[in-house]
């Protein structure tokens, strides 16, 4: 099956002389949820920024739906939705206005937009806040708005950076339930998170970044194998991968 996202030998960072990422490669196929894990500063957000096209890679190739950003920016961008680590909302728009804006931006048909926004508001318990400005929302609610906006266009790829920060238990559950459905419908998800237990329970594959290098990737068993014998959980495997051998060299 053709991959939705293909990252090939990506080297990048803020300055060409000081790359943060070193030759990262991975692919994500439709119907897959992939967890991106690593310590603070491992390069998770930098990887995501490169995929989004917010940063220019020094070397390597990133393809979404078969095209690079330069080849076809609109096709590239319309193929994914993004949930940033900290909610980025427009102060002057209400929750409803945000959804309408997203619907327009991604070219969602008007009737479809109406149906989907209504369902999302219901699902994330945001009906009471539909006319609230983002400045009047709590952090968790802002995050919900971000997630609802990402879900609205139903793109083939979701890029989600630390989605659980600030969400209440109900919100986390709605999000996870929704992500499972999204996945079952054939979309792909790249999710970065520090909550390893959740990542372990929901993701099909894992990417372990350490100091800008991919130190392990694959299914839970594969990652455990790469971490060395005896790792029972993802957390244990992760701990070994990022503490042993100083992580500068790929373990696998």
């Amino acid at each position: 099956m053709e991959s939705v996202l293909q990252v090939d030998q990506l080297t990048g960072g803020y300055s060409p002389r000081k790359p943060v990422l070193h030759g990262i490669s991975f692919t994500i196929r439709p119907g897959e949820m992939v967890g991106l894990i690593g310590l603070n500063g491992a390069g998770k957000s930098t990887t995501i920024k490169h995929i989004l096209g917010l940063m220019k890679q020094h070397k390597g190739d990133i393809r979404i739906n078969g095209v690079t950003l330069e080849e076809n920016p609109e096709r590239y961008r319309s193929a994914f939705a993004y949930v940033p680590e900290t909610p980025v909302l427009f102060d002057e728009l209400t929750v409803q206005d945000h959804m309408r804006l997203t619907g327009m931006a991604y070219g969602v048909e008007e009737q479809l937009y109406a149906k989907r926004s209504e369902r999302l508001l219901q699902e994330f318990h945001m009906n009471a806040k539909v006319n609230a400005f983002s400045g009047h929302l709590s952090k968790g609610m802002k995050q919900k708005v971000m997630i609802m906006n990402a879900l609205l266009p139903e793109p083939p790829l979701y890029i989600i950076d630390e989605p659980f920060l600030g969400l209440d238990p109900l919100g986390i559950r709605s999000l996870l339930e929704r992500l499972v459905k999204v996945k079952e419908s054939g979309a792909a998800i790249l999710m970065s998170s520090h909550i390893l237990a959740t990542v372990e329970a929901y993701c099909d594959r894992f990417l372990v970044l350490h100091r800008g290098r991919m130190v392990a990737q694959g299914t839970l068993d594969e990652v455990k194998g790469q971490a060395g014998a005896g790792a029972k959980t993802l957390e244990e495997a992760f701990y070994r991968l990022v503490t042993e051998g100083d992580g500068d060299e790929p373990v696998a």
């Binding site: 096209g53 002057e92 206005d97 804006l101 931006a105 991604y106 400005f133």
Partner: protein
């Protein structure tokens, strides 16, 4: 005691820091055409004023004008404290000593306020003395407005202390209404009658003010107001030079935002939708709205007063269209660095195209509103020339020069 001095010192340091922070921007403003424009406005105003003083129509509503002009100056009581959010952590534990800190703010805001009020009074009194049969002696009037200013400053402080926004708004309404009535009484009625009426109003206000719950020091309110003032400064400076972007204050403005809601749901309208809301709901919209009202009022006055045989109104109209266009052009700064601009599947030129369209539409509508009083007051055919000229010049500017200028600005911005 030493602690007290240190809080007062902190106030001084913060005031100096703000001054230093804004000096470069003030310099840029000085280099722009703005001071020239203000002088021009001043000269035009003075010509109109002396014209009015010499040929005052017998029906001139001098009392209403006095109330409209002086009441805001009396009631408006800004209070700069330099407080910022971190102060709820670091300064709040020393709330007992804050009086000394705030005393500086009282002086800083009170004295210029009174001076400005007197300056306005000096302009008003000659008109007043001329129009009213038995005017109140001007020294007495000066005393009255100064006392009223003091009472209002105190009232405004009490409002800031109120725990519930609803109570604060309600009482502010009462205070403004009372001040307007009181002033009207002093301007129109014999002194002692007016004084008795005023006393009654003051007692009512004092009773009303005592009712709602209040904080001893309204930290959050003062911090919000300080942020707001700071934003206003930067919004002003942004007309001359790029400024650090401060989060802007939002108002729902249902009476305007329906316009944005009328924008058709379509992929190509994405940015138009966003910019329309930005323009209507941020402070920018407030500024443009006030400028439009002010412009329409001045055009009306100059047109009715036949200043420079009607051409004065044309000059004012064009000037206001220019200012509004410049102000609304600063819309391009608002979402310049938004991450969504890079993420939405939309071509970059659509961003710029939508921006130009929204700015042009806003300038055209506001320009039209300012032009209306000019058109409506041109009674006879020989007076049509100024209104027609203003229309042609303004439409030419808005639809031809403004888009080109904006596009140039946007492309040069891209090369930064």
């Amino acid at each position: 005691m030493a602690m007290n001095r240190s809080l007062s010192l902190l106030w001084q340091q913060r005031a100096t820091a703000f001054r230093k922070e804004t000096i470069p921007y003030i310099r840029y403003m000085g280099q722009s055409g703005f001071p020239g424009f203000v002088s021009l406005l001043f000269i035009v105003g003075m010509i109109g004023y002396s014209h009015l003083l010499r040929n005052m129509p017998p029906s001139f509503p001098i009392i209403s004008v006095g109330v409209i002009v002086l009441t805001p100056m009396i009631c408006w009581s800004p209070f700069r404290t330099w407080l910022h959010p971190a102060d709820t952590v670091f300064l709040m534990p020393r709330e007992k000593e804050i009086g000394d800190y705030l005393a500086n703010s009282w002086r800083y805001n009170g004295i210029p306020g009174v001076i400005a009020l007197w300056a306005l009074l000096m302009l008003y009194v000659p008109l007043y003395v001329k129009a009213v049969d038995e005017p109140l002696a001007w020294p007495m009037l000066a005393v009255v407005v100064t006392v009223m200013k003091g009472l209002n400053a105190f009232g405004a402080w009490r409002e800031r202390q109120m725990a519930w926004p609803g109570a604060r708004r309600g009482i502010r309404l009462v205070r403004w209404a009372a001040a307007g009535l009181m002033l009207a009484a002093f301007l129109a009625a014999p002194l002692w009658n007016a004084a008795a009426f005023a006393l009654l109003l003051v007692i009512t206000c004092v009773v009303v003010i005592r009712l709602p719950q209040r904080h001893s020091v309204p930290w959050e309110r003062l911090i919000t107001e300080e942020e707001r003032t700071r934003r206003r400064y930067y919004r002003f400076f942004s007309a001359f030079i790029d400024v650090p972007v401060l989060p802007s204050r939002i108002a729902r403005r249902g009476y305007l935002s329906w316009i944005a809601n009328r924008i058709r749901y379509a992929h190509k309208n994405t940015y138009r939708y966003l910019f329309a809301f930005t323009l209507l709901r941020t402070e920018l919209g407030g500024i443009i709205m006030r400028l439009t009202m002010l412009g329409a009022l001045i055009v009306y006055l100059t047109s009715v007063g036949l200043l420079l045989s009607g051409w004065g109104a044309v000059a004012v109209h064009i000037l206001f269209v220019l200012i509004i266009a410049v102000q609304s052009s600063s819309l391009h700064q608002v979402h310049r660095h938004s991450v969504w601009r890079h993420i939405y599947p939309l071509p970059e030129q659509r961003h710029d195209g939508s921006l130009v369209r929204v700015v042009v539409t806003a300038s055209a509508i506001c320009g039209g509103i300012i032009w209306l009083p000019l058109a409506l007051t041109s009674g006879s055919p020989d007076q049509y020339a100024p209104a027609l000229t203003a229309l042609i010049v303004y439409l030419g500017y808005v639809f031809w020069m403004l888009p080109a200028r904006l596009r140039r600005k946007l492309t040069s911005g891209l090369e930064d």
